[in-house]
Subunit: 397 residues, 2 copies
């Protein structure tokens, strides 16, 4: 039923007695933004999630960093990140207005720094690549670096400014998206969805993070990340304004300052699926953070947590129809980029639903069918409308 | 009313309509042990505490270490620690039987180790002092050290065994003491005590940790300690059996293994009174712990916490009558030694109450009156029975 326009009933459906036009499975930022955009176009939308906002976004730092995260061999992903980051300023304004709440969007930019000469050499190699793509990364002399952030350790050897790499607070973003979606008429249902055949709708959008594997058979794997939340002493704001991304004795770490005084320090990238916080990870993150910004040692450690990023075989998202099931759209596998990719994902999936059958060209490299020939994927998706995953799970969240 | 024998009513008083023989202010290990011992002798006992066991003991590791904690210039304290540690085996048996619960008492002993040559030199200086006092500390060759604890880092330079330094689990000890005290007839009252004149009893025992300063005017100050609780992975017990006390690049750290898989890592010693957990303290504790026992990096970090030890000007406890108030006994200021000193404190205070006016000689160096001439102490204790502290506080806990 791709190409359906606004439903004839229109308006707000608090209790959807009629089958909805769109069912979204997953109330993380991606699912809620799709629900908001679709509801705003007049579609009847139901969002299914027993615990909205409890997935990867609850742990995420909220960096919007297409430049600093432009890595070798990921040109297509970098293009999508850049496109979505470009939509963020307007998205932030619209959402703040629609929800009536602050989402912690900040535009001071990002400093990428290297602690040792070796760290700096590694960073410079990446900056050269990023500049080659035409991305705005500007190396700074040490004096320029310290002018911008006097709190940086004197031994930091050098750095660069990614002025367009911004940040948002995911723990403010998700409630705002939920408010905006509900104000636009979307209805949240907190019953767990155990299989897609439990859901009745014109189009089903699967935005269930790591749960997508069990629901669709597509190759989404959990990639564990451990994150710390600190707080500047005495209710003061942090002693730095930029997002700091650092290389410190071979460790990579980021520090994201919030006006509230919070500083998010992250993150490990681990191929495992537990949510335990390990002593070694906390040690490595704190050591790197304190080496780059010594005043961090005086901050309170207020939270240690772990989340599971939904990774795909090529670490790029899956956006588009589930192979063999044109009424099921996948919006998942955003891995480390769920927050920055929220606006473009919501726009593209909404266009796909409302666009009369045509598919936005931007989507082409990210269609789930690129994994259709992987072993195991066909087996799981070929069983028809029951969508029984090959591995049993209790529920997807 | 010192010297009062068992009350003529005897038995168990669930609701003390009669004024109790003994009111204990503070249901930490010291207060509860005194209540247990007094109730077991037939006295009517009431214990006052709005949140039993919520003070320093909740954070404490529970090392019973008179040998490893025998420091220069503290001979009298070392004598009391040794005396109390000697009472611990029987105390543990009696308490386990009286409460019917396990208190995690373990007798594998303590290894004191030095990471670097400098660390080892510092440790050896203290071992020589301890051996000079006749205390059982036995230097070990590196091969003997590794035979006892193969998990120690290969770069640990040397160590010694303090075979008689044992451990108990304070989070099991306090509930057991409460059970034993209540089974013996003591009654717990959870109303806060704002001043001692709120309490009516033949003898009042003030065992309120840091709250003693506000209640009596005696010079007890909070000494903050930050502590981590880790857990060995996969439900296994820790990979080491001894308590490990280490010097690691100038940091002192201890690691206390429990059969449950828990490992307590501590502790900072800070002259401040907040309960915040700081990034710098967590970093230093984890770094030292991982340097000494590399497998700790794989353990889960399950709790970070801070407690306030009740310190006195000479860091030794105050045991005996409050100056000018023979009916008020102080059992406080145990600083870093509250757990190990619990048996001797309970015995001595109970003897003082029941002993017909004579004072056990062991108490002599620890009487609160040694601080009576400090500025501020007289002013606070000379106001009579109102015990109004010089600094207003809402309540003592």
């Amino acid at each position: 039923m791709l190409g359906r326009g606004p439903s004839s009933t229109g308006g707000v459906n608090k209790v959807p007695f009629l089958a909805p036009d769109v069912a979204v499975v997953g109330a993380g930022p991606v699912g809620l933004a799709i629900a908001w955009r679709c509801a705003a176009r007049g579609l009847r939308v139901v969002v299914h999630d027993p615990t909205p906002g409890s997935g990867a976004s609850h742990v995420a730092a909220g960096m919007l960093a297409p430049v600093a995260e432009a890595y070798f061999g990921e040109q297509e992903l970098t293009g999508l990140l850049t496109e979505s980051a470009g939509r963020w300023p307007e998205f932030a304004v619209e959402l703040t207005e629609a929800a009536g709440t602050d989402i912690g969007y900040r535009t001071e930019g990002t400093l990428v720094v290297g602690l040792t000469a070796d760290d700096l050499a590694e960073a410079r190699r990446l900056w050269a690549y990023q500049q080659g793509l035409g991305l705005p990364v500007t190396p700074l002399r040490p004096s320029q670096l310290r002018e911008r952030e006097p709190a940086l350790a004197p031994r930091v050897r050098g750095g660069a400014l990614a002025a367009t790499d911004h940040q948002v607070d995911p723990r403010r973003l998700v409630p705002a998206l939920r408010l905006a979606a509900e104000r636009a008429g979307a209805v949240l249902v907190t019953e767990p969805v155990r299989r897609l055949s439990d859901v009745t709708a014109g189009v089903t959008v699967v935005a269930a993070g790591c749960g997508v594997a069990a629901l669709t058979g597509l190759p989404v794997r959990p990639v564990k990340g451990q994150v710390l939340r600190l707080r500047a002493p005495d209710g003061a704001p942090p002693g730095f304004r930029h997002v700091i991304r650092g290389y410190a004795d071979g460790e990579q770490v980021y520090l994201v300052p919030r006006h509230s005084g919070e500083v998010v320090v992250g993150a490990t990238v681990e191929e495992r699926s537990d949510l335990d916080v390990s002593a070694g990870a906390v040690l490595r993150l704190l050591r790197a953070a304190v080496d780059l910004l010594p005043e961090i040692a005086e901050y309170d450690l207020v939270e240690t947590s772990a989340g599971l990023r939904p990774g795909t075989p090529d670490n790029a998202p899956m956006l588009g129809p589930l192979p063999g099931h044109p009424d099921v759209l996948v919006a998942a596998g955003h891995h480390r980029h769920g927050i920055v990719l929220t606006p473009v994902t919501a726009d593209l999936i909404t266009d796909l639903i409302c666009g009369g059958g045509s598919s936005p060209p931007l989507l082409a490299p990210f269609r789930p069918e690129r994994f259709a020939n992987l072993p195991g994927v066909v087996a799981a998706t070929a069983v028809g409308n029951t969508f029984q995953p090959s591995t049993e799970v209790d529920s997807w969240n």
